[in-house]
């Protein structure tokens, strides 16, 4: 197998976004994942979201680790730099890239193996640091590339394709992220594009580390009866806590569209996340309630989806570090080098 370029076909009547770019401009090379893989649906949703947001392709960086999920950055926005790093270490590379150039829009794509096992430490610390990025976990409960071992997100009691029953407790991505102090976390299902696209847009617009846990069934190794990450199981047990949309800075918020129990969250760039409670019991701005709600529904065997927690007031890495507004990589060397006079003065104290 090798790299397969995707044919660029200009279809008549394609829409253009504010930059004059069509959806095609947000695509990448051809996916080599299995036909029907949930990850490909997520890629398609990302293409849609980035196109709708008119993100300049060169301002995007696509970061990943190792695994099926980590292959996907090659499959969207061919005009963006990509970085397929080592297993479980995408967050640190994203942190460094963001440190060097704070203007970049960083999308990190990881999986349950990449983030909840080998990369569990980096997953926690990138959240603590609140690096401005979308941290996407394509969660299928299984190691695909090595042929079907359980991952740490596999539910206790679920069965592998060969019949083995998982007895260990799973790591709940959303609850973990909340307890680590995440500033934005949501959960979605790869098969529900209507929910996914606006959630992706809100996460990209959020000025901090936005974690999205996306249940993404593995058609080859984890789509059988007994799996709790299959298409059928997820569809049956999904419970939507919130509906989300993102209104760009200059667009009008149409009251009629989001009538009812709508909670607008205004972001620093002027855009607004519109959050509508699908379940009146849910409050996504209070950490304790979010955790209790998640646990209550977990016991009922329900997979809670939507934007589940948001805190606009957590400072991101650059605010914490008081870094200058100009990207560090663009600073003039003369502004970085103290010069010979300063060196001489400094050394007077060393004599």
């Amino acid at each position: 197998m090798t790299f397969i370029p995707k044919p660029q076909i200009d279809l008549p009547g394609q829409h253009e976004n504010d930059l004059g770019l069509s959806l095609r401009d947000y695509e990448g090379s051809l996916s080599t994942l299995c036909a029907g893989c949930g990850h490909d649906s997520i890629t398609a949703a990302l293409v849609q979201a980035l196109w709708e947001m008119s993100i300049r392709p060169e301002m995007l960086i696509k970061m990943s680790g190792i695994g099926c999920s980590s292959k996907t950055p090659a499959y969207f926005v061919h005009g963006a730099h990509g970085f397929n790093s080592v297993h479980g270490r995408m967050p640190s590379v994203a942190t460094g890239a963001s440190a060097a150039n704070r203007d970049l829009i960083c999308i990190g794509i990881s999986g349950d193996g990449d983030s909840l096992s080998i990369g569990f430490g980096q997953f926690g610390h990138v959240i603590r640091r609140n690096v401005n990025m979308l941290y996407l976990i394509e969660n299928n409960g299984v190691y695909g590339l090595t042929k079907g071992q359980f991952s740490a997100s596999a539910d206790a009691g679920s069965t592998a394709k060969n019949g083995t029953v998982n007895q260990m407790q799973n790591i709940n991505t959303v609850a973990t992220a909340i307890s680590m102090g995440v500033s934005f976390v949501g959960r979605a299902f790869s098969g529900d594009r209507e929910q996914l696209v606006p959630l992706l847009k809100a996460a990209i617009a959020h000025p901090g580390c936005a974690v999205l846990d996306i249940i993404s069934p593995c058609v080859t190794f984890n789509n059988h009866e007994g799996s709790t990450k299959s298409y059928a199981y997820t569809r049956e047990h999904k419970k939507q806590a919130t509906e989300t949309d993102l209104v760009p800075p200059r667009a009008e918020i149409k009251a009629s569209y989001y009538a009812g129990d709508t909670h607008p969250v205004r972001l620093h760039d002027g855009s607004t996340i519109l959050l509508k409670k699908a379940d009146p019991d849910y409050d996504p701005t209070r950490r304790n309630n979010a955790l209790a709600y998640l646990e209550r529904h977990r016991r009922r065997g329900q997979i809670v989806t939507g934007l589940l927690f948001i805190d606009q007031n957590v400072p991101d890495m650059h605010i914490q570090s008081r870094t200058v507004a100009t990207p560090l990589k663009d600073l003039d060397y003369r502004d970085l080098n103290p010069g010979s006079a300063a060196l001489e003065a400094l050394q007077r104290g060393m004599k």
Binding site: A80, H81, L336, N337, E344
Partner: protein, 603 residues
């Protein structure tokens, strides 16, 4: 009792205290007083892996000829720690002097008749003259400075001036410190013949020299190199390097009006993350580095291999400590040479730089970034605890205002506009170095960075030829590196000789002194100090021009010798290892005796 030879400006002073009792400032005062008197000095910390309460030593060598290495000799010992008194006393060279706190009696069994023991009731003097308990403990250590000032003929005016400078913001501390110093000074003057036969006298001029540690110098060098991102995980003995970088950045890179910082320092969760952060930052166009020590390099190795294969500039500085494993974190060795040369799985090789002193730490911090950017590969600076954490006297650091960083082959939007297509790993210049682009600039320059098999376009491949094409080009780049790294430094013997010495890094001072001692015995050897890997052409020339080459290094397995034999297999039987690896800095005597013994056996 052997008569003590009178020696001026040629002695070793060792001070034994307890960690956390403020002795560091007293010892610094002694070092600087000698320095201001124009005497060449070095100060070495021998400290425990402990915060407070364990024994610690500070060793000052004053030498009019400028020899900087350890000697293994102790002329004057100040034994302030009862816990180590017997060991400390035994360490004094015959004819030497031992100063101890005579407030409490020492048992008779702890006596030697070949040294002079000088008791000073330091605790008693301080208890009688200071009220506060904490002050009494601190001043006891300051009081021995006074005793030594009398015994060693240190200039009291110089000491007073030093106190005034260091306590400029707290003048009352000048008085209390000076009071303690004079207590010791006057007691010594009244009770002993001052000065001792070994003592100091004002000599040349040190005004063009500075006292600095390698970690401070490297931290400063990274500021001058234009590094804006530093990531690290705290580890002895590299921690003070990031402290220095951070301090100098706060001093030179903060906007006075807004408080905005032109740098970003990230304390990572571990060394793996520190490596990932600097890879990401360099990839995105900043200059980023990480300071660490051997265990950190072990953990970073996966990323180092990634950076080699994906061709990401990055700078690692390894302040080496004693291994294997956790080893002795507060002792020194040159034991990571082999690991850094080939860090990570698969076929990898990395440029290494070997600073011999703090001045070279400063200079090589800048060289390392120019090399990393030019070669698009990880570059290592191999310092060690001796260089990094000890006080060295070096010529003042200088700066060329015309210097501009070499950012290497980076294409911007204007360059890309002139090209049909950007190909990330295409060797268009024949030097093995390809062009890169930075994210955030131009969609035409977009490419995919990966550690998986890739072709010259950066695309994933499992095609044998396409894979090998890239791997072979990396060897071409290695050849190019040979013309870019710092030259080895050759010092010829006074007369033509077929004997050679090869050394690197902190062994330099010991080799310089050993060559003089050996010459006095009629053994003349040329000396080549290696400053980088890959070896430059003069290394090969030197090996072939000598019949016997002593390779001096501070590790058990003769790691540099192994690298030399890989490069120049036909000279292997001429390379004689001279090894020192007990964790203390290498003394010149180890080299003198090693080479003398070999020559006698060969004769």
């Amino acid at each position: 009792m052997p008569a003590t030879q009178s020696r001026v400006n040629d002695f070793v002073l060792k001070i034994a205290t307890v960690n956390g009792t403020g002795s560091a400032s007293a010892n610094g005062l002694l070092l600087k007083a000698l320095f201001r008197m124009g005497v060449p000095v070095t100060g070495k910390n021998l400290f425990p892996s402990n915060i407070q309460g364990l024994p610690t030593w500070y060793e000052i060598r004053a030498n009019k000829d400028g020899y900087m290495s350890r000697t293994g000799r102790v002329d004057v010992m100040v034994a302030m720690n009862a816990q180590t008194y017997e060991k400390d006393m035994n360490e004094v060279s015959p004819g030497g002097f031992l100063v101890y706190d005579s407030t409490w009696p020492r048992r008779d069994v702890l006596a030697r008749d070949d040294i002079t023991v000088l008791g000073v009731p330091l605790a008693k003097l301080c208890n009688e003259n200071f009220d506060v308990a904490r002050l009494r403990i601190l001043m006891k250590n300051v009081a021995y400075v006074g005793v030594l000032a009398a015994l060693l003929n240190l200039d009291v005016d110089v000491i007073r001036k030093l106190l005034q400078e260091s306590f400029a913001h707290k003048p009352q501390l000048v008085d209390s410190n000076l009071k303690a110093i004079m207590l010791g000074y006057d007691y010594a003057k009244q009770h002993f013949t001052c000065p001792l036969p070994v003592h100091a006298e004002t000599m040349g001029d040190n005004s063009n020299n500075i006292l600095i540690t390698g970690n401070e110098a490297a931290g400063l060098g990274f500021v001058f190199a234009g590094a804006t991102v530093g990531a690290w995980y705290p580890i002895t003995p590299s921690t003070s390097l990031m402290d220095a970088f951070s301090g100098y950045c706060e001093q030179f890179r903060v906007d006075p009006e807004t408080g905005d910082k032109r740098f970003c320092i990230i304390q990572a969760e571990d060394e793996l993350a520190a490596a990932g952060i600097i890879l990401g930052a360099n990839w995105a166009g900043a200059r980023a580095f990480t300071p660490t020590s051997g265990p950190g390099i072990s953990l970073m190795s996966e990323f180092i291999g990634f950076a080699y294969y994906a061709e990401i500039p990055s700078v690692f500085i390894d302040v080496q400590r004693v291994g294997p494993s956790t080893g002795m974190p507060t002792r020194t060795q040159q034991c990571d040479v082999m690991m850094c040369a080939f860090a990570s799985h698969g076929d990898t090789r990395h440029p290494l730089l070997f600073p011999a002193n703090p001045k070279e730490c400063f200079e090589m911090a800048i060289t390392a970034f120019d090399l990393a950017d030019r070669l698009q590969t990880p570059v290592f600076i191999l310092s060690d605890l001796d260089i990094g954490m000890n006080d060295w006297m070096v010529p003042e650091l200088t700066w060329d205002e015309n210097y501009r960083p070499d950012r290497g082959k980076v294409l911007g939007p204007d360059d890309l506009a002139k090209m049909d297509r950007f190909i990330r790993y295409l060797d268009s210049d024949g030097d093995g170095i390809t062009y890169r682009t930075l994210p955030g600039e131009d969609p035409k320059g977009a490419y995919f960075t990966r550690g998986s098999g890739h072709n010259r376009y950066g695309a994933y491949t499992e095609d044998s030829d396409a894979y090998q094409d890239v791997l072979d080009r990396l060897l071409v780049k290695w050849q190019t590196a040979k013309s870019l790294v710092p030259d080895a430094v050759l010092s010829r013997a006074m007369q033509p000789t077929k004997l050679g010495i090869v050394a690197y890094g902190s062994s330099d001072g010991a080799v310089i002194e050993a060559r003089d001692r050996l010459a006095e015995r009629g053994i003349h050897a040329d000396y080549l100090r290696i400053r980088a890997l890959p070896f430059t052409h003069e290394v090969e020339d030197f090996l072939h021009a000598h019949d016997t080459i002593f390779v001096v290094e501070q590790n058990r397995d003769a790691q540099m010798r192994s690298l030399l034999t890989l490069e120049s297999a036909d000279t292997a039987n001429r390379l004689v290892p001279i090894l020192h690896y007990n964790g203390m800095p290498i003394p010149s005597e180890c080299i003198v005796s090693g080479i003398s013994a070999y020559q006698e056996a060969a004769a």
